[in-house]
């Protein structure tokens, strides 16, 4: 029917409905996921700095600190967990931050700078389809990254992954809440760089600092309390804590601030950041800076 219409002309009322309704937005969104994911893996620098970075660091840390012996070992050297097992939750948390916040923050700022968003603004692509594409791209690439990290830890460094279903349940909800929050915050901060060229310079350094103070590279328990308090404002600390709860033995909970995993705290902190991010996106996202 509609496919046989070859000349330009007005559409009838009913085809209008079906063509521009929510189903079309969803269909275009799914198509955007494929397009966005293809573009992601074609850009060599993002593949390295967001996709492979945590994987490479997990490898380096595991090898470099391997000689220090197990973490949490008894005085006689028995027990405890390997350095690879100890760093795994932090690297997964860093991966979530990079795949969400850094990836989308830089990506969308560059698309705004190079005219991609302006071009899309002139097409009948719904904004929601664009976001479905971005969120889907983040989910697909981040899942691949997490699987790669788990495989590397298990296969190369012999890390024993949890066997209790409760631990994996924790892993799944912390991961999902973390990645969705990170993606939404990435969209929100893409407004900050004034140009596409400055995007990496504006977004990457603060995120790097955040990784150092949130228990990713340095043990959170070693940080002074005031620095812990600052880090607790931001979501990465909570993602890392949730990942430790899922992947480390429960005996490690005593090393956390307050002596427990505080999973309700993780859920509340990430939930607040998710809502804040959504509001900021809703209020500030525009296809283009009008009148610039």
């Amino acid at each position: 029917m509609s496919t046989t219409i070859l000349t330009p002309g007005p559409l009838t009322g009913t085809t209008r409905e079906s063509h521009f309704g929510p189903l079309r937005a969803l269909r275009l969104g799914v198509r955007r996921i494929g397009y966005e994911t293809k573009l992601y893996f074609r850009a060599g620098d993002t593949v390295f700095f967001t996709f492979l970075f945590p994987v490479v660091l997990l490898g380096i840390f595991s090898v470099a600190f391997g000689g220090l012996g197990n973490v949490g070992a008894n005085p006689d050297g028995s027990g405890g967990i390997s350095q690879a097992a100890y760093y795994l939750p932090g690297m997964i948390a860093a991966g979530i931050l990079l795949s969400g916040v850094q990836n989308l923050g830089v990506d969308i700022a560059m698309e705004r700078g190079d005219g991609t968003l302006k071009r899309l603004a002139g097409t009948p692509l719904p904004v929601i389809s664009y976001f479905i594409g971005k969120m889907g791209q983040v989910l697909v690439t981040s899942l691949a990254q997490v699987i790669l990290l788990l495989l590397l830890a298990r296969v190369a460094f012999g890390v024993a992954l949890p066997t209790e279903p409760a631990k994996w349940l924790t892993f799944v909800w912390v991961y999902l809440l973390g990645i969705v929050t990170a993606a939404v915050l990435g969209i929100a901060i893409s407004r900050l760089p004034r140009s596409g060229k400055s995007a990496s310079a504006v977004i990457i350094p603060p995120l790097l600092v955040l990784q150092f103070i949130s228990g990713v590279y340095l043990s959170f328990a070693l940080l002074p309390e005031w620095l812990q308090n600052i880090a607790s404002i931001f979501p990465l600390k909570w993602i890392a804590q949730g990942m430790r709860a899922a992947l480390l033995p429960d005996s490690f909970a005593s090393a956390e601030a307050g002596g427990s995993w505080n999973l309700p705290g993780v859920a509340i902190a990430l939930g607040i950041w998710l809502v804040v991010g959504l509001v900021v996106c809703r209020v500030t996202f525009r296809w283009i800076r009008k009148d610039s």
Binding site: S2, I5, L6, T7, P8, G9, P10, L11, G13, T15, R16, H19, F20, L28, R31, Y35, K38, L39, R42, A43, D114, G115, T116, K118, R119, A121, G122, T123, P124, L125, P126, I288, K290, D291
Partner: protein
């Protein structure tokens, strides 16, 4: 639905359009109409307000005053349905360099309800040999053709072209003109912004000249300028040493014959039929002089 049907009412109506940035007025009370199926050129020097005007029509910019209707709707409240009926070739190339020509066109075709055939469009812009090349590896002129292809892929009723042939070699420009004529024959309304007066003369039914944010002339391209500006000019010296004299006349041959009868062979005789470019420069020059006064 209030959106007007194809063929009823003008494609574009602009009345008293104004746009200011702080104290600077970029567009100062412009008005014109573009009929359905017409090819309309906007001419004017850099900074005259052409692109600002076009971007207001495309829905990219807010206006400070005046009325605008594009395909029966106010571009301020652009709907997806409205966007599906227009095609835009922006002045600046969009990047997305990591996809091939074919991938990009296929993706964009999917955004429209009744797109053109991807192969047909690739052939129409002459990129058959480059369809599997990533856009970032194309030359500037080839990327511009991708822009044009993306502008027409959705089978627009109204096509905006903002300096579309910048960076084209002469052959590519001719090929582009052919494409635009084909679109025009199919009934597409075309709004063309250009620096090239020959392009406007080749393609457009009517043209508007904008300078200093004001509309200084509008009409069929060959009727632009005052009637006097198009009158042929005879220029000569009576003797080698006397001053240059000029006379506008509708009968230059008769005038020259009279000159010869009276003074003998004049020195440095020229009969000048003002080109579109002469008329245009005179128009813009007069407007600028007036603005400076």
């Amino acid at each position: 639905m209030t959106s007007s049907h194809r063929g009823s009412g003008p494609a574009v109506t602009v009345d008293g359009l104004r746009k200011s940035y702080g104290s600077f007025t970029a567009v100062d009370g412009i008005g014109f109409e573009i009929a359905r199926g017409e090819t309309f050129a906007l001419l004017g020097p850099n900074g005259a307000g052409k692109s600002t005007t076009v971007e207001i029509l495309e829905g990219y910019r807010e206006r400070s005053g005046g009325e605008v209707s594009v395909l029966g709707a106010d571009p301020r409240h652009a709907t997806l349905e409205w966007k599906a009926r227009i095609g835009i070739v922006l002045q600046q190339t969009g990047e997305s360099g990591n996809v091939t020509v074919r991938e990009q066109l296929t993706h964009f075709a999917g955004l429209y309800p009744h797109p053109r055939d991807v192969d047909e469009v690739i052939a129409a812009v002459g990129l058959e040999q480059k369809d599997k090349t990533r856009i970032k590896s194309l030359s500037g002129g080839q990327r511009r053709r991708v822009d044009v292809a993306l502008g027409v892929i959705g089978r627009p009723e109204l096509l905006f072209l903002d300096e579309p042939t910048t960076g084209f070699d002469p052959e590519a420009r001719r090929q582009f003109w052919e494409l635009i004529r084909t679109l025009s024959r199919e009934g597409t309304t075309i709004v063309l912004t250009t620096h090239y007066l020959d392009e406007a003369a080749q393609l457009s039914d009517r043209a508007a000249v904008i300078a200093g944010g004001r509309l200084i002339d509008i009409g069929p391209v060959h009727e632009l300028g005052s009637a006097e500006a198009r009158v042929p000019l005879v220029r000569w010296r009576e003797t080698e040493s006397s001053a240059v004299r000029e006379q506008r006349t509708l009968e230059p041959a008769r005038f020259v014959a009279g000159l010869v009868a009276e003074h003998g062979e004049p020195a440095e005789l020229e009969v000048i039929r003002p080109s579109l470019e002469d008329i245009y420069l005179e128009l813009v020059g007069a407007a600028e002089a007036e603005a400076a006064a």
